[in-house]
C-alpha cells in the first residue's frame, strides 16, 4: 500500500507535466488547426538550450536560464508561428502536421549534434529529498512538481477566465470565425497562444529534465503521451488536458510498477483505444452531431 502511494504520487507528478504539454497542444490546435508533432521536442529543447548557453558562454545557471528561455520563446513561440504555421495554414491540416514532423526531426538532431548525444544532468529547482508519508517514501521532488505544475495551470486558468485578454484568447480558441466577427484581434490571439504553448513547454521542461535528464530523444515519449492525453481529455483545453494528462501519468506509473516492463507502454495505449471506442469525444469533450 505504501508503495502504491509512492507510485501514485510519481504518476500524478509526471501526469501533471504531460498535462502542461497537452494543454499547449490543445490550445494550438484549437486556435490554428495545427497538430504539433514536435510538441515532445518542445518540452525537450528548453533544458538543452539552457545547458548549451551555460556551456558556451560560461554563464551561471540563472543567466543561462534566462537566455535559453528567451531564445526558445522567440524561436519556438513566435518564430514557429510566423515561419512554419502562417504560410501553410491555408493549405489544410495535414501538410502543416507533416511540417511539424520535419521540425521535430530538426530539433531532435539539432540537439544531438549541437549539444550532446549523451544524457546530461539538469539541476533541479525544487528540493529532492525523500519524505516519509503514511509509511511510504515519497519524493519531495514529485510533490514539488505537482505543486508547481498545478500552480502554473491555476495561473493559466485565472488568465483565461479572469482577464479580458485571456477571455479573448479563449473565444479565439473556441471559434476563430465568430471571434473575428466580435472584433477580437485574432492574429494577435493566435500569436499569444503560440507563446503560451512555448511557455508551458518551458515549465514542463524545467520540471521533467531533472528527473529524466536532458537528452535529445526525450521528446518522443513525452510527445506521444501529450498527444494521447489531449485526445483522452477530449481536446477540451485546460480541464480535459489536465484530466487526460493525470490519467496517462498515473496509468504509466502503475504499469511500470505492476505490469511487466516489456508491455508497460501498452497500458496508456489500451486506455486510449478504450476511451475512443467508449466515449469518442474524450472524457471532457463535447459530443458532435452525426453528420454522415
Amino acid at each position: 500500500m505504501a508503495e502504491f502511494i509512492a507510485y501514485l504520487i510519481a504518476g500524478i507528478a509526471t501526469g501533471s507535466i504531460y498535462a502542461l504539454a497537452a494543454i499547449g497542444f490543445t490550445l494550438v490546435w484549437q486556435t490554428s488547426q495545427t497538430i504539433n508533432f514536435a510538441q515532445g521536442e518542445f518540452v525537450m529543447l528548453p533544458a538543452v538550450l539552457i545547458l548549451l548557453a551555460v556551456k558556451l558562454f560560461g554563464l551561471p545557471l540563472w543567466a543561462g536560464g534566462l537566455i535559453g528561455i528567451a531564445v526558445f520563446l522567440l524561436i519556438f513561440g513566435a518564430g514557429f508561428k510566423f515561419i512554419v504555421v502562417d504560410p501553410m495554414i491555408k493549405h489544410g491540416v495535414l501538410p502543416l502536421a507533416i511540417a511539424t514532423m520535419a521540425l521535430s526531426i530538426i530539433m531532435k538532431e539539432g540537439a544531438k549534434d549541437g549539444f550532446s548525444a549523451e544524457a546530461q544532468s539538469f539541476p533541479s529547482l525544487v528540493p529532492t529529498d525523500m519524505v516519509n508519508l503514511l509509511g511510504a517514501a515519497i519524493s519531495l521532488q514529485h510533490v514539488a512538481i505537482i505543486v508547481v505544475a498545478f500552480a502554473a495551470i491555476g495561473l493559466l486558468q485565472w488568465f483565461v477566465g479572469g482577464t479580458k485578454l485571456g477571455r479573448q484568447m479563449q473565444a479565439t480558441a473556441q471559434n476563430p470565425t465568430v471571434a473575428r466577427i466580435l472584433g477580437i484581434p485574432v492574429e494577435r490571439m493566435v500569436l499569444l497562444t503560440f507563446l503560451l504553448n512555448a511557455a508551458l513547454a518551458v515549465v514542463a521542461s524545467l520540471l521533467i529534465s531533472p528527473i529524466y535528464l536532458a537528452k535529445f530523444s526525450n521528446g518522443e515519449t513525452i510527445g506521444l503521451f501529450a498527444f494521447i492525453a489531449a485526445i483522452v481529455g477530449g481536446f477540451n483545453q485546460i480541464r480535459g488536458a489536465l484530466v487526460g494528462g493525470l490519467l496517462i501519468g498515473v496509468a504509466d506509473s502503475l504499469a511500470a510498477a505492476y505490469v511487466s516492463t516489456q508491455y508497460r507502454m501498452a497500458v496508456p495505449l489500451i486506455l486510449l483505444v478504450a476511451i475512443i471506442l467508449i466515449k469518442p469525444e474524450g472524457l471532457m469533450g463535447r459530443k458532435e452531431e452525426r453528420r454522415v
Binding site: 452531431e289 452525426r290 453528420r291 454522415v292
Partner: protein
C-alpha cells in the same frame, strides 16, 4: 396509394432550441411541394432530418409507407431519395462527366461489379443525356471546380437526377443564380418532373421561383407549419403575410 413522403410530428431540438417543433405533412407522387418561411424557421433542419443528416428528437419520416427515420443518407439515397445542396457540393477536381457518373454508379450493380466492371459503370450514355438536358455540353470534360456558380448549380441538379430518383429534395436551388439561368433551371425542373414523374420538395427563399414552380406550398415559422395550400392561397393568407413582414 400511400404518399411518397410522409413526415409525422417531427421534432428536432438543439439543447434548448426547438428548431423543428412538431411538423407534419405528406407529399403525393409527382407533386412539386415548396417549403418556405422566414430565416431561421427550421426549413434546413427539417430537410436534414428527413435526409438522415440529423437525427430527429421525436417523430417519424416515411418513404412509400416505410419508416426511414433513422436511416443513413447513403442508404436513403439507394432507396431513391436524392438531394441538391444549398452550399455547392460538386466534386471540384473531377470533370463534369465524372461527377455525373459518380452520382449514378452506386445505384446499379454490386460492390464487386464496380471493382471488376466497366470503368464508367455503364453510365456514359446516361451522363451524356444529362449533360445535354441541362445544357452543359461544352463543359463535359471541364473540372467541376472551374464552372461558374450557376453552372455548378445545374450540375448539382443533374447529379441528383442521375440515379432516376423517386423523390428529390432541392435545397435553395435558386440561390445565387442569375435571372436568365433561373428561368432555364425552372423550365428544366418542370420538364424533368413531367418526364420522370419524380416528386420534388423544394426549400426556397425566392418567392417568385417557388410560387411559379410549385403546385403546393407549406409555410413554416418558428419550427411549425403556419399555412398550407396552393401558391395563391398561401400568398393571400394573412398569417403568412404577418410572419414575413413581422421579421
Amino acid at each position: 396509394m400511400s404518399p411518397v413522403l410522409e413526415v409525422h410530428d417531427l421534432h428536432k431540438a438543439f439543447g434548448g432550441i426547438k428548431a423543428v417543433d412538431g411538423v407534419s405533412f405528406s407529399v403525393r407522387e409527382g407533386e412539386i411541394l415548396g417549403i418556405i418561411g422566414p430565416n431561421g424557421c427550421g426549413k434546413s433542419t427539417l430537410f436534414n432530418c428527413i435526409l438522415g443528416q440529423l437525427e430527429p428528437t421525436e417523430g417519424a419520416v416515411k418513404l412509400d409507407g416505410r419508416d426511414v427515420t433513422r436511416m443513413r443518407p447513403s442508404d436513403l439515397n439507394r432507396l431513391g431519395v436524392s438531394r441538391t445542396f444549398q452550399l455547392l457540393q460538386v466534386f471540384p477536381e473531377l470533370s463534369v462527366r465524372e461527377n455525373l457518373i459518380l452520382a449514378g454508379q452506386e445505384h446499379q450493380g454490386s460492390m464487386l461489379g464496380r471493382l471488376f466492371g466497366a470503368r464508367d459503370a455503364g453510365l456514359s450514355d446516361k451522363a451524356e443525356q444529362m449533360i445535354g438536358f441541362f445544357k452543359l455540353g461544352h463543359l463535359a470534360e471541364a473540372k467541376a471546380g472551374g464552372l461558374s456558380y450557376g453552372q455548378q448549380k445545374l450540375l448539382d441538379a443533374a447529379m441528383a437526377f442521375m440515379a432516376g430518383p423517386r423523390l428529390v429534395l432541392l435545397d435553395e436551388p435558386a440561390g445565387g443564380v442569375n435571372l436568365t439561368m433561373l428561368g432555364d433551371l425552372k423550365e428544366r425542373l418542370r420538364a424533368i418532373n413531367a418526364e420522370q414523374g419524380a416528386t420534388f420538395v423544394v426549400i426556397e427563399h425566392n418567392m417568385d421561383f417557388v410560387m411559379s414552380l410549385c403546385s403546393r406550398v407549406i409555410v413554416l415559422a418558428e419550427g411549425q407549419v403556419l399555412a398550407e395550400g396552393t401558391p395563391a392561397e398561401v400568398r393571400a393568407d394573412p398569417a403568412v403575410i404577418e410572419a414575413y413582414l413581422g421579421h
